[in-house]
Symmetry: C2
Subunit: 311 residues, 2 copies
Amino acid sequence: MSAHPLLIVGSIAFDDLDMPTGEFRDVLGGAATYSSLAASLLTRPVRVVGIVGTDFPDAHLAALSARGVDTAGVERAAGKTFRWHGRYSSDLASRTSLDTQLNVFADFSPKIPASYRDSPFVLLGNIHPRLQVDVLDQVARPRLVVADTMNFWIEGQPDALARMLRRIDLLVINDEEARQLSGIHNLVRAAADIRKRGPTTLIIKRGEFGALLFDEAGTFFAPAYPLEDVLDPTGAGDSFAGGLLGYLSACGEVTPASLRQGLYFASALGSFCVEGIGPSRLLEIGASDLAARIAAFARLVDHGGSLAVPG
Amino acid sequence: MSAHPLLIVGSIAFDDLDMPTGEFRDVLGGAATYSSLAASLLTRPVRVVGIVGTDFPDAHLAALSARGVDTAGVERAAGKTFRWHGRYSSDLASRTSLDTQLNVFADFSPKIPASYRDSPFVLLGNIHPRLQVDVLDQVARPRLVVADTMNFWIEGQPDALARMLRRIDLLVINDEEARQLSGIHNLVRAAADIRKRGPTTLIIKRGEFGALLFDEAGTFFAPAYPLEDVLDPTGAGDSFAGGLLGYLSACGEVTPASLRQGLYFASALGSFCVEGIGPSRLLEIGASDLAARIAAFARLVDHGGSLAVPG
């Protein structure tokens, strides 16, 4: 693996999940958790900055460490860990937030350890855009800065969000967020609008329908993997981002080709994530599982190399 | 072009379209119309069997002929042509049927001209499954039989549909129809179920989200083309099927590779269709437009040929 350290900043949480298959309590969750576990299958070191409460078991941090995730940047504060309670519809296509307790996450102010400041690859998980900018103020000029965001900030913090967008290279959001951010329904036009606001590259995630990449080389599409068993979509988007950054960090270079190939690794990690409750599947897979899934992706899109008009 | 004649059987209609961009009346429509126009960009001859009323202008048949479509099999009956009136939502994602007048189509009983009976490629548009079987009883053993169907027949004519499925090679339906037909929500499992009922190959269309192919070689995915301007989704699925059959007829062979490449031509013709009201865009494009769109598709999915796990 490479020596292009990846820094991931984001939430670490307990999730209470009401799924069609059962109720699951105190599930390890949070964007930084999913992203770092996904990235750790592809690159080292993966450095995490987040915050947990005194109720957070050392065993969870040990589980991350066991996967090669550097958790020295995880702050432990007095109080309880961020907790989210959600209920999914029977087809898993939609979910309702039943309860959100920010707890120690409410006062999260990311402090980047000195040893992390040279990280050339940075993933800013979905936190207040002002805090995302704070992180960038603490690191040396990274090679690639990727950020996620959500409707809550698009609606409530447009100015902070605009400042954040001017500081990043790549924004990863879903289709509804792209429409809300741009005010444009058509995704091709929405992408052009968003790319004028700062990030030269935009990835629009569409869940089970795949993901679109817009960059200076054009438009690219990578499908989601058609799965027989989907158990829990929680964290799929964060695993997607972690897979992308893990691949790019391992490659050490950001080019149109590495971004396009990276989208498949993103999609592969997203596909593993949804196969288990919480991050359970991410915690059990290894290099051979990843290689097999990537090979299956290659078959899924292999059109024989020739797309010539007959005649 | 090839000498592997393609036979298309289906509806020919007038559509009254209430679109966000305006109201359009007496628009040339029907599955056979869209499919044959799409196929005619790829292969000759394309033979159409359908029915129109005395109100159907010769100019419409002439427009089809001008694109190389053989309309000798279009029957003209006393009465009015099939008419559908639909209204689309502002984002074009859903539509409501305001009125359906079957007219002469109510008594449609496809009569295959003697000169059409050797057609090696057959596309059975969405009509009563009993009539789809009637068509197959009138033709010599084709190399490939493809059929479409819809919720109306899945719900109302399960026995006739089951008989039809045992007579065809390839079924092309959308995701909701696949779920309804199989009674299974997960599309990978639904596909396995449907393929046991007759067709060795299944294509599941997902509109703007692309299409999945399930055959003996595995699972394949082709995206829809991300367009800046979508005007009218009417006929997109039929154009998709026509593009697929046009490509396969031009190739003259049905292999895992030709099916996979054909899916891109299907998707390309579907993408042209939605760029105009009714079949207007299909009527104006030529070989160079098609070649350019196919080249754009190739860029959309070109991941540089390498999907290797780094390390």
